[in-house]
Amino acid sequence: MAHKNSVVPGFRLTLGITLAYLSVIILIPLSSVFLKTADMGLREFIDAAFNKRVLHAYGVSFISAFLAASVNVIFGVLLAWVIVRYDFPFKRIMDGMIDLPFALPTSVAGIALTTLYSENGWIGSQLSKAGMKGSYTVFGITIALVFIGIPFVTRSVQPVLEDLDKGIEEASLMLGATRSQIFKKVILPELLSPILTGFSLAFARGVGEYGSVVFISGNMPMKTEIAPLLIMSKLEQFDYEGATAIAIVMLLVSFIMLLILNLLRRRTNKFLKE
């Protein structure tokens, strides 16, 4: 802390380049959304951003993203647990496979899942026997978002679980705690922060996801239309105002949710440290 700037050279140069690149690629382009909105009348904006069809699309996007992220919390923790704590054949392959949704282009995932869950698909035909529909429903959208979000929770929980001191668990066991008590009182609190991180990453990704969802959703207005798709179709009709109005609402809601989740995470961290 003695000297504010270290003897290592390059501060001005690297900071300059970083800020310039950040401005050109992110900040200036992003500001266009706000400028465009400022150009619109209030009435016009509300009509474009909050009409019935658009409201329904927000609903589908946020609800399916929330459901998918929640499913991923459960399976993410389970996968991380199984990989870190147990030994079994093909464990390495299973561990490596978890990142597949990151590496696979979303449109490939999209058409594969749509075919799989359509009425004649391998899974879809089984579902229809049970009277359920996979593709072209909100359920289908959620499946696609679960697929996209698998790695997020697992990869945030895994390193924390690896570093967890097993001594505490053993001590609690000696003191007569049951397995479920240990999980609830010793392990889970440690995992809360990475779970929240994984959840918010998966959620943010799910709300904005387009490629894997357009195919499986069927895009029926007031039913399975998602907000990013509405932006896309407005753009195709050269309705830039309409597209911008929806975009800004999505941006603001995502930012607010991320802020809340960040605060929540900071709180749990603080609480644990005290």
Partner: protein, 276 residues
């Protein structure tokens, strides 16, 4: 003494059930889609498969995807190193805020990422007049595709390097600097060998995302066949024209690339752990 046995883990039954559920989950969610792609791709025979993947438009799309990916990854790698150097080697105000800004693209929908470039460079856009004068096309052309890809993959390399370089501190660099080494020499001789695996890891993730980007590129591409169509967009077109086996044939190539990326990723991670 019975307790001693179950010391390290749960009862065997629970263990088997948990592993079983995990395997079942991964098989339904990951393996079935992959198996489906392969069977559908070969559904019309090997000849149709080869025809689909050597089709003129497929090869053109592959070319474009590679070009956009290489440019975007190179730009973001240079930026990632620069930003990580600036953030981890110096103390300054607003550092946390800068990191938040770098992470921003992760929380922005790819469709919105495409939209902002259309708003700036498209018709009625801020710079449209200027571009018109010089007859430069950005949106619905290659520059737009590259810009959108850069935006979406912006944080990957920086995000991988910042925690790594933070943990390594600045002692070695400071020592070299006090002995008179220049900035570039310090980076090349000291920092780079220390961060090479992390850097490679970031580059792999960045490449994977850049190759597969769909939403953002879809907005700015204009879908001109043979010209502004990337591989993921080409798959969409084939699929919507009901050329299912062709769509899955092209998909299967991307699956292969994805698997190679995964193997590389694991190799690099393993190397990084070993070198520590």
């Amino acid at each position: 003494m019975k307790k001693h046995k179950s010391h390290g883990g749960e009862p065997k039954g629970i263990k088997i059930i948990l592993i079983g559920i995990s395997v079942l989950f991964l098989v339904t969610m990951l393996i079935l889609p992959l198996a489906l792609i392969i069977t559908q791709a070969l559904g019309k025979g090997v000849r149709a498969y080869i025809e689909a993947i050597t089709d003129h438009y497929t090869l053109k799309a592959l070319q474009l995807t590679l070009l956009a990916t290489i440019t975007a990854v190179a730009a973001n790698t240079l930026f990632g190193i620069t930003a990580a150097w600036c953030i981890t080697k110096f103390k300054f105000k607003g550092k946390q805020f800068l990191i938040t800004l770098i992470d921003l693209p992760f929380s922005i929908s790819p469709v919105i990422a495409g939209l902002i470039f259309v708003l700036i460079f498209g018709r009625n856009g801020l710079f449209y007049g200027l571009l018109e004068q010089f007859d430069v096309k950005i949106v619905f052309a290659l520059p737009g595709i590259i810009l959108a890809t850069i935006f979406v993959t912006f944080p990957f390399v920086a995000r991988e390097l910042i925690p790594l370089m933070e943990a390594q501190g600045t002692d070695e660099e400071a020592a070299a600097a006090s002995m008179g080494a220049g900035g570039f020499t310090i980076f090349w001789r000291i920092t780079l060998p220390n961060i090479k695996w992390g850097l490679l890891y970031g580059i792999i993730l960045c490449t994977a995302r850049a190759m597969g980007e769909f939403g953002a590129v879809s907005v700015v591409s204009g879908h001109i066949r043979g010209k502004t169509n990337t591989l993921p967009l080409h798959i969409e077109i084939l699929y919507s024209e009901y050329q299912f086996s062709a769509a899955f044939a092209v998909s299967s190539c991307l699956v292969m690339i994805a698997v190679i990326i995964l193997i590389l990723r694991n190799l690099v991670e393993w190397k990084a752990k070993k070198s520590r």
